[in-house]
Amino acid sequence: MPSGRPSAALIACCCLASLLVLLPLCVTAASAAGAGFSLAVTLLWRPLVGELLENTLLLIACTAMTCALIGTASAWAVERTDLPGRRLFAVLAVVPLAIPPFITSYAWVSLNPSLADFSGALLVVTVSYYPLVYLPVAAALREMDPALEETARALGNSAWSVFLRVILPQLRPALLGGMLLVALDTLVEFGAFALLRFRTFTTAIYSAYRAGFSGAEPALLSMILVILCTLCLAAEYFVRGRARYGRLARGTRRAAIRHFIGAWRFPAAIAFGAWALLTIGVPLGMIVYWLLQPGDAATAPVAASLPAVAQAAWSSVYLGAGGAALTLALALPLGILAARHQGWLVNLLERAAYLAQSIPGIVVALALVSLTVHSIRPLYQSAFLLLIAYSIVFLPLALVSVRSAMMQAQPVLEETGKSLGLGRIAVFLRVTLPLAAPGMGAAAALVFISITTELTATLLLAPIGTQTLATQVWADTSTLAFAAAAPYAAVMAAISMAASWLLAHRFGAASIYAPVTVV
């Protein structure tokens, strides 16, 4: 790594971005502390908090387990057996990531209104998040040196014994990392659980806020949630940091052994088909079903009209584009700093930005609400504040891509450009930009998708009168107007899936889920 000291302007931009990201945490901590010790104890030492903890922890434990089992088994079957249709399943395993969990939740609830509570939450979260295990595990299986498995077979181990003794130990970092990602996403999910009437910290924080309680109660609950998220993030960092075995040596790559599962091929293919039906068929099928129902099939406060849908779609798209631009603008200086410079200050600023990952959208939104309501009134319920909330929530996501994009533009290439007589601006335009552009584009697309499917912050901060696709689906489904919600859900799923497809097509499947990389 090259380079002298970062310029003061760069440092200033980075400090601004990092401080902005940490602002919601500070506001929340301050209002939690404002409650005072005895009130805090009274508020936290209640059966409600115990129930929330139990619900949340039980759910993340069970979800992580089911996702681990299904994700690993399906990754192994796709990568290591002659399962018919395995290429198709490899694609289908990615699709759930492009369907927001609250849409999946809406589909299941409207299919079976009695589905609720723990079992419903477990079902919805598992079908939504199992790709977070499948993708890294499948990638690790592809990366693994096939000679390891062959050698183990030659040493007398059956396929099952090879899986336990050779494959599983090496999958551990990918598997645990994926499980923690599932846990983290489950902790911050709001919409899916609200529709299922399953109480977790996010839904409790929202109710406390809606009930107009003093800032202390939501802030205290928020702090517990932030601590749980931070624990997940820290565990993820720990798992990734050690035990990265990698290949001992690299040479020519060969395809791995495929196990011929013989008579099991067709039952296995049917099971995979059924699973695809559950994970993709139900959400998309239910949207189509409700689209085909006349508006009065479910109680519709305001039946969806074409202009209303177009208006909501436009809001979602311009907020998504604006949010992506602002997020990228904040991530760019941090990405340059992290890719090109070293030192304690660089580490501190970068880690501060990544820490935002453990601050859920609802916490960010709530903190910004209380901050602006009290001190910066004109900003309250402005579109600009909403964009700021988005950029705080999605900065870590963008930073990972921006940082690796800047790594693509290696300094030695820029130096070569200079040695060929190019000035600073010419080097930037002809060397740095073309090399970093694809990664920056990926970052922008990822943030755009995340914002158009974001519900919580939008719900709390959207300017009066502004309806996005997400808030419309939310408004209609919470009054059980399933048919009215369908057009909005359809447009939202279409935007998200089209953008995800472009992203995955260009950058590979792994690019469409949040890469948690703390460096």
Binding site: A152, R153, T252
Partner: protein, 347 residues
Amino acid sequence: MAFLEISHLAKSFNGAKVLEDVSFAVESKTLVAILGASGGGKTTLLRLIAGFDRPDSGTITLNDETLAGPGMFRRPEQRGIGYVAQEGALFPHLCVADNITFGLKRAERRARHRVDELLTLVELPASYADRAPQDLSGGEQQRIALARALAPNPRLVLLDEPFSALDAGLRADTRAAVAAAIQASGATAILVTHDQSEALSMGSRVGVLQNGFLTQLCAPETLYRTPASPALANFIGEAVFAPGVAADGWVDSPLGQLAAPDAVNGPVNIMVRPEQIKLNGVPGNGVSATVHKITFYGHDAVISLSLPGSPQDITARIFSHAAPPPGSDVWLTVEGPVIAFPAGTDA
């Protein structure tokens, strides 16, 4: 019946024939080296013997037991054949001792059965037992991989280009250690490689795999001195070819009248190894030639010579201190017998 019998083995991938018809036998406690160009099907042959792939046709028999044949396939874990992959493929999550004992029963694994003995066998200190594979050099990793393959006392050990990833200095030492360990353990082994000096120096018999066929399997000296075809002669080391006419064990050629005991009378194409050609400065002592170019290699040098009336240069390999200056006139003689192929067979 030989210890390992391969007969009429064929295998294609996606319509491309990698092995067309390969048959050979390996005697117990010998090391057979199979030499072939990369992409020539060497690794495929080993993978079929190990059981990682199924042959399209043909049979593999080990110690009178059919491993693969029509309607018959033994899985790799049932074969008792050790396998050393190109880059060792040590399990990165296990220490050296756990790698070595990987193929043993649970109780033996706990007791670290034979770890010291096997480390000694591959000439590594016993203190290596607790190291992580990542901390070993490439050559050490290969030795551990061999120890791991030998630990369950396999009937046969397969070595898939085990030295190709090592740099030149390590390669010689690792080769010697591996050869010694295999011999000491009394195992039968097949080594595939694209490196001819490796094949010739390590194999008690050497075979050449070309275009899906095993063309010759014999002692290394025989292969080098009397290759079955001009193409094979070119593949195993360098060769000088010249036209000639054979009569009664002698060949008349631009290189002089040369002894060719097995030559069939009539027009022939003779093959001489460059080191058989000797140069001298005595006019009339042999065939006259002019030194065209010298390529210096250190202890020896390759001299490019033009012969009067011959369109092509020929090469001689001599000790470098005896190399004549370019442009000088020399006289050459050929030492030892030459091989005469029927005229019209080209390299």
